[in-house]
């Protein structure tokens, strides 16, 4: 894991340093005096070899000194922490929405394989995969915010201030993300369940006269939940990518919004920090899913 984090940091640093731009010029503006620019470059250590710059950056990250954002003129650490909590709400909410819709829909499709119920389920999910998630977002804004006025169309409220209002603000972006996610998970649940329902032990369970409900939910789904959770974990990467689009669309000031602002304004220290943190979180979540696997499938033991 330490090796992976180290690799993540190297990739982050490399990707952000291939740019031809100049941080000093970004701070002082293009019209600034060349001598002052050179001075600033020297004091920022921009003339040092890249390997030194990387060393300094990673040392700062490890010791908790994440530098200052050029855009917000504030230390990066506290900003990140605050935005992470905002995004955690969206990530959890959209995952919950996706799973509660996808598992029943996928199971239903698998049980009624090749009947109209399956066609309906598959159509819904292929439509979900095909629509860009910001398009879902726009549709939801039009329907729930503009036409019905049930939910606010933009903004963020901290859960500590007013939890209900915070949920209301997080709901539409989470729903838009959740719908795209649901489509992927439904397809996965259907495929796994189809495989399991054709196995011998299901026939045995039916033959000994168990209720169909028990067979499907306790015998079938219990075996399908592991792979589904793994895919859900893998979808975290997709989710953290989409969150950038969705938070910008809804003006929800979380991690995604912060990343977008950093990218737009070429705020190099902030870009490095956000990209690194997002990749690290995605990796950690996948690790966590692997570690939790025995809970979903007790046959698996961790080595």
């Amino acid at each position: 894991m330490a090796v992976t984090l180290f690799l993540i940091s190297i990739i982050t640093f490399t990707v952000t340093n291939i740019l031809p731009g100049d941080v000093a010029m970004m701070i002082m503006g293009t019209q600034s005096n060349p001598a002052a620019l050179a001075n600033l470059r020297e004091s920022l250590g921009l003339n040092d070899p890249l390997i030194y710059q990387y060393g300094r950056w990673i040392f700062g990250m490890l010791t908790g000194d994440w530098g200052n954002s050029l855009l917000f003129k504030q230390p990066i650490g506290p900003i990140l922490l605050q935005k992470m909590t905002a995004s955690a709400l969206i990530v959890l909410l959209s995952m919950t929405i996706a799973l509660t819709l996808a598992i029943p829909l996928g199971v239903w499709s698998a049980v009624y394989k090749n009947r109209w119920q399956d066609t309906a389920g598959s159509s819904v999910s292929i439509l979900g995969v095909s629509l860009p998630d910001f398009f879902w977002g726009i549709m939801l804004i039009l329907l729930f915010a503009r036409a019905l006025g049930w939910f606010p169309s933009s903004g963020f409220v901290h859960p500590n201030e007013d939890f209900l209002l915070a949920l209301k603000h997080a709901f539409l972006p989470s729903l838009a993300l959740g719908l795209g996610l649901m489509a992927h998970l439904t397809r996965m649940t259907r495929a796994t369940m189809t495989g399991i329902l054709s196995q011998e032990f299901i026939r045995v369970a039916r033959a000994k006269g168990l209720a169909e409900k028990t067979v499907i939910w306790q015998y079938g789904l219990a075996n399908a939940i592991g792979p589904v959770m793994t895919v859900a974990g893998l979808q975290m990467g997709y989710l953290f990518g989409s969150i950038i689009v969705m938070e910008s669309l809804f003006n929800y000031t979380g991690m995604g919004w912060l990343t977008y602002q950093a990218l737009l304004n070429r705020d190099m220290p902030l870009i490095q920090a956000t990209v690194f943190v997002i990749a690290a979180v995605v990796m950690l979540v996948n690790l966590l899913v692997d570690l939790l696997y025995p809970i979903f499938d007790p046959r698996i033991e961790l080595k």
Partner: protein, 275 residues
């Protein structure tokens, strides 16, 4: 001729029709429609709903959405195709070498690929595009690089499987060199999977281009691309929802077609994964 019959189910027909239509539009529209049709502004007809003069309505500058969406097809298809080709050019050799030779090469390469997979594809593409400066060419590079690890991982797995087949063993024992084995035996046998995955990647690339342009870090105006059109519609949603619906539907139909086509291709080319 049974292979053609497999294409002719409901999903196959819809998928193929949609894909063919989009390709036809992307190729023919720029030949038939004069480019100024998409940029001609008509200030008296700003944000007008679909009518006889403008079949799909107009945008905030009074430009005809029908012509813009038709001409935008080429930009979107162009970017998606080039990006997927680029990730194939990098990912195919990487995956082949990694899977075929195994051992230390494989360990190092796949460690790198796995780490890259921790970066959300869209985040990677956005960062590269922002860092290089957003324009058409850099959008292709950004999406191409972001998609490479996924393809490399898949191709590696397939190459690993095929490299252990008895027929590869047989060819090796009759003295075929590694390069001959890779190009002559492994590559042709992983092609079905590569083709299917490329088709599905095309769908994702269309979505990625739309996402990048929507955030202003992809195609730049005055180019007409679908993502850019949706971005422009954001401020006029209340008064003119069709400005978002027209390009959004174009993206959706294209991606839908590619997904369905990919599913059917998989059933035809890759009998192991019958759905």
């Amino acid at each position: 001729m049974s292979i053609f019959k497999k294409f002719l189910n409901f999903k196959g027909i819809i998928g193929i029709t949609l894909v063919l239509c989009v390709i036809l539009i992307a190729v023919l529209a720029p030949l038939i429609i004069p480019p100024e049709f998409a940029t001609r502004m008509d200030m008296r007809a700003r944000l007008s709903p679909p009518n006889m003069a403008h079949w799909m309505g107009t945008d905030q500058l009074g430009r005809d959405l029908f012509y813009r969406v038709m001409l935008g097809a080429r930009t979107s298809i162009n970017i998606a195709t080039s990006a997927v080709l680029m990730s194939l050019v990098i990912g195919l050799p990487l995956g082949l070498i990694s899977g075929y030779f195994g051992g230390r090469t494989d360990n190092v390469l796949m460690r790198l690929v796995d780490t890259l997979l921790s970066f959300p594809a869209l985040l990677l593409a956005l960062t590269i595009s922002a860092v290089l400066g957003p324009n058409l060419q850099n959008t292709i590079i950004a999406i191409g690089i972001a998609f490479t690890p996924y393809l490399a991982r898949l191709i590696r797995g397939e190459a690993l499987r095929v490299a252990q087949m008895p027929y590869v063993e047989a060819a090796r024992s009759s003295g075929a060199t590694n390069s001959r084995l890779i190009i002559g035996h492994v590559l042709p046998n992983i092609m079905p999977v590569v083709i299917v995955q490329s088709t599905i990647s095309l769908a994702f690339a269309i979505l990625a281009e739309a996402g990048l342009s929507f955030l202003g870090l992809g195609t730049q105006p005055p180019e007409a691309s679908w993502g850019l059109m949706i971005q422009a519609s954001r401020d006029y949603l209340d008064r003119a929802p069709w400005t978002a619906l027209v390009p959004g539907t174009a993206v959706a139909l294209t991606v839908l077609g590619l997904n369905m086509f990919g599913d059917v291709l998989r059933d035809v080319l890759d009998p192991r994964s019958q759905s």
